[in-house]
């Protein structure tokens, strides 16, 4: 077989995810290149370089034994919680919300790390929970505590998008852990009652406004609705084939806000059209399928939940971002994984990828591996 001539180190790599990732990142680089007016600086080059740095990190994560993951889960979670509290106490003020800790050499956003962190700790929790307890309060109360504490603190910052992402990751793990379905249905029903109350009493003014404007973007064409309107114009004016690489007027003339971060999908769709959009959707689909497949094939409960939770976290990013830019969700500051320029989200997503890759390794070690 020809396969025999390919070095083992290469065939061992999880090409099922690396290939789509590379496609996505290079495509993102091209979009950022155009958004910068045909320059690699300041975004495109950095974007690709960052990816490779974090890819190395992911590879390293992938080699960590399962045992270490299990043992680190709770302490890591604890550290992250402490950091969240620290953010609240001494974090730098930025954009009306406290999200950063200045470590001197870099700014750390603990809430970002909490997204994979919550998946990890809950997976660990359900893996150590005796099987028979899954239907009792012992299966839900500690989990709600583990989830509620960081979610509440992130809400306080206030950062609705990240809080929702943390909750989504956590709830997916709980769901897949086999908790009774009626709990979720009950919670969903309660949510339907509480959401309007929360809207009026818990949300900040600017968050409430975003929701309102999402319902009717034209009501505020120059304020918050401006983002959604301009984004829809960018996507809609692209048509099927797009305006062509480097010809996006919405992004180049600054009509599109955050053209290189949150609204990068609109920047892309303007120039590459619906075809480009379908390509991105397809690649995300491949990555999701890979993640869930890894979860299905995983050798034990912990790694199953871990891989599926990480996949759900990435999914949440992509789904909310694309819904937002297409006017299906309110504007929440969530970037599009692997396309948006930005270090924090790239790191989080690569941690998720690395973790899934690790699960992939464990399951292959269980069987005999690829070769």
């Amino acid at each position: 077989m020809r396969r025999a001539y390919i070095p083992k180190g290469l065939t061992r790599q999880p090409w099922g995810v690396l290939l789509p990732l590379l496609l996505l990142v290079f495509f993102g680089g091209a979009v950022l290149y155009s958004a910068a007016g045909g320059h690699f600086q300041p975004w495109a080059l950095m974007h690709v370089a960052r990816f490779f740095v974090f890819l190395v990190m992911a590879m390293v994560i992938a080699r960590i034994p399962q045992d270490w993951f299990r043992r680190a889960a709770l302490p890591l979670y604890g550290i992250l919680c402490v950091l969240l509290v620290l953010v609240e106490l001494i974090g730098g003020i930025g954009g009306g919300s406290q999200r950063w800790l200045n470590l001197g050499f870099m700014t750390l956003q603990p809430s970002e790390l909490m997204k994979p962190g919550i998946v990890l700790v809950l997976s660990w929790f359900y893996s150590v929970l005796p099987t028979g307890e899954t239907r009792t309060w012992r299966a839900i109360a500690p989990a709600i505590g583990l989830l509620g504490f960081p979610a509440a603190f992130v809400m306080l910052q206030p950062d609705l998008g990240t809080a929702l992402a943390i909750c989504f990751g956590g709830v997916v793990v709980m769901f897949l852990a086999g908790l009774p379905l009626r709990w979720f249905l009950g919670a969903g029903g309660a949510g339907a009652v509480i959401a309007p109350l929360a809207f009026f009493f818990a949300l900040h003014d600017y968050q409430r406004k975003r929701v309102l404007v999402f319902m009717d973007p034209e009501s505020d064409p120059l304020g918050s609705g401006y983002h959604i309107t301009q984004s829809k114009i960018a996507i809609g004016s692209g048509g099927f084939l797009g305006k062509g690489f480097g010809n996006g007027s919405q992004s180049h003339l600054d009509y599109l806000p955050e053209a290189h971060t949150d609204f990068v999908f609109a920047t892309m769709a303007e120039e590459w059209g619906m075809l480009g959009g379908l390509f991105v959707l397809l690649v995300f689909g491949l990555i999701m399928r890979w993640g869930l497949k890894v979860a299905m094939n995983a050798p034990d409960r912990f790694s199953r939940l871990l891989a599926a939770g990480m996949t759900a976290t990435i999914f949440f990013y992509a789904c909310i971002n694309m819904m937002m830019v297409m006017g299906l969700a309110p504007v929440v500051g969530i970037p599009l994984p692997f396309l948006s320029h930005g270090g924090s989200s790239m790191m989080t997503n690569m941690i998720c990828i690395g973790t899934i890759m690790a699960v992939d390794r464990w399951s292959r070690r269980g069987s005999t591996g690829l070769s």
């Binding site: 114009i233 809609g236 007027s249 919405q250 003339l253 959009g277 399928r289 299906l328």
Partner: protein, 693 residues
Amino acid sequence: MKQKLPLTSAILTNRFERRTFVLGMGQATVGVLLATRLAYLSIFENQKYKAASESNRVNLSLIPPRRGWVLDRNGAALASNRADFRVDVIPDRLVDADDTLSKLSGLLGLTADKISDIKDKLDKARGFQPVEVAAKLDWDKFAAVSVRLPEMPGVIPQRGYSRYYPTGPSVGHLVGYVGPASAEDYERERNPLLITPGFKIGKDGLEKHFETRLRGVPGARRVEATASGRVVRDLGTREDVPGQPIQLTILGGLQDYAARRIGLESGSVVVMDCATGDVLAMVSMPCYDPNSFSDGIGRIEWKMLSEDDHVPLRNKVLRGLYPPGSTVKPLVALSFLEAGLDPKASVNCAGGLRVGNRVFHCWNHHGHGQTDMLKGIYQSCDVYFYHFAQQIGMDKIAAMARRLGLGQEFPMPYPGQSYGTVPDPAWKLRKYHKEWAIYDTVNATIGQGYMLVNPLQQATMVSRIASGLQLTPRLLLDRHAPQPASMGFAQEHLDLIHAAMNEVVNGRGTAGKARIPIDNVLMAGKTGTAQVVGLQHGNGKNVEWKRRDHGHFICFAPFDKPRYACAVAIEHGGGSPSAYPIARDVMTYLFDPAKAMAALEELEKGWGGNVQQRMAARYSTFAAQYGASAPRAPDEAQASKVVEDENKPVAEPSTAQTDAAPPAPEPDAPQPQPGQAVPGSPAAPAVAPNGAQ
């Protein structure tokens, strides 16, 4: 039944797999939903969003057309355009008005009062109306603003043209001024040009009347611009079509000269061509400077203008109404002649005449002795006119006054002129339901009482007397206008009046000082002093300014072959001595500009400079005194309203004068000895005989 079974890890694994499948399906559903949405936006709504994107990308900006010039009869500019750099702000696009203004004032060096003015305008402006921050900038300042645009959204630096009036205040009332369109203008026209930064429309005078002709057609510039308004590249420009010029009959130099010559007085000068009726000068002073008015009226300037009792906002030529005083005497005499009175008929003036149970005084209460028509005019003897007017009757006099243009409306391109009153019995009955009294005739013959005229009518009157032609004042130059018809006066009647008016200046008359210093050119004239109706305080001379008599002088030259006619009216000048030196110098200018200019420059030294210099000095006094604390200037709309109100036709007195109006004083003659004229005496500036009435 399921929940009865004990949970095993196999069940949980199975459950995990099923739920993961559900999760995967959910994700796929979301994916399909997103793809559908994408298709909907980019295929089905593609046209709509393409149009929106295109209208984002391309900015169409209008280029204000260059306004048509206003030219004098020789083609010199009375109003032109000057290329300049300007900065406007659009209130809608301002993010932080105070911050932007403070940055701008740093860059442009704006003073505190100017900033307050801009803030006032910003408060009042509707969102889309551009507000001018500064105009006539030099390149350095313009460039400084241009490079810092990204920090100052809403600020629009522009290269354009601004209206320029080379002689400033001299043509203010004549030409009018321009200003940004008001909200009402925009409501009326709905023309996007009106809210284009830098565009101005005529606000008063000819600028307003000939707006459509002067405006021109705007150019347009299509540019690709960023969301913040930065131009990325030009997509094409259509040039503007400048407005049509209008050429006036005005002689620019004369207009300016007359304006300057009025000096510190408040008054007007009208000069007409005796062959065509062309208005060669039409001056009302003091006047606002149309240059600074067109830039927007600042609070200090507004305070200065509105506090000036010389009413600089009123065009006194068309809207000033005065009792004409003795300047009507040639007219009355002409009506006597037409009625068949022998010019040799005389009356003995003893300083007064009993009419009914009252004594009407002559201005010279010592009396003029035996007075015929000639002497009646050149000595301005009131008694002569009292006497014969009663014989001839008011109807004849009033008919002659109307024939010569008093009380008449002329087709001048200005709104709201005042036409004054020529009273007669029918008019009085209609107006006040009262019978005409004999003292009304007496008053009217000396240009007092109900008689009210404007300076343009006075000029028309003297030009018709001078030429014997049916002259109509004309402001728009028309070289092919038909020859004016004759008035139909007998030439010997005119000759007699001309001789009498010549005598006023060059003989034994009341205005010897008005002789013009040109060889072989003799000027004929008639003085007039009019009391400020209803304010008899003192003798009309040594009292506060507002109660002083008006001074009039009408004249034409050369007396034997009339070419130019002129009327001067000086408000509260203290009598005709304030008027005829001005007339003399203005007429001199027509024959020898250099000589006239030399005289003027000498005078201006005593007045503290020419008009602009005096205004600038006054401005800096006001600025130092009030600074930004002056009350806010009215916005454009209000200001032009005030100017309009200032120029509303003056209403006639609403009630009848129940008593005799005071007889006219004529205090401007060389002091004659009682009962005798002083032939050819050098006309001393009149020391008024006290108690002239």
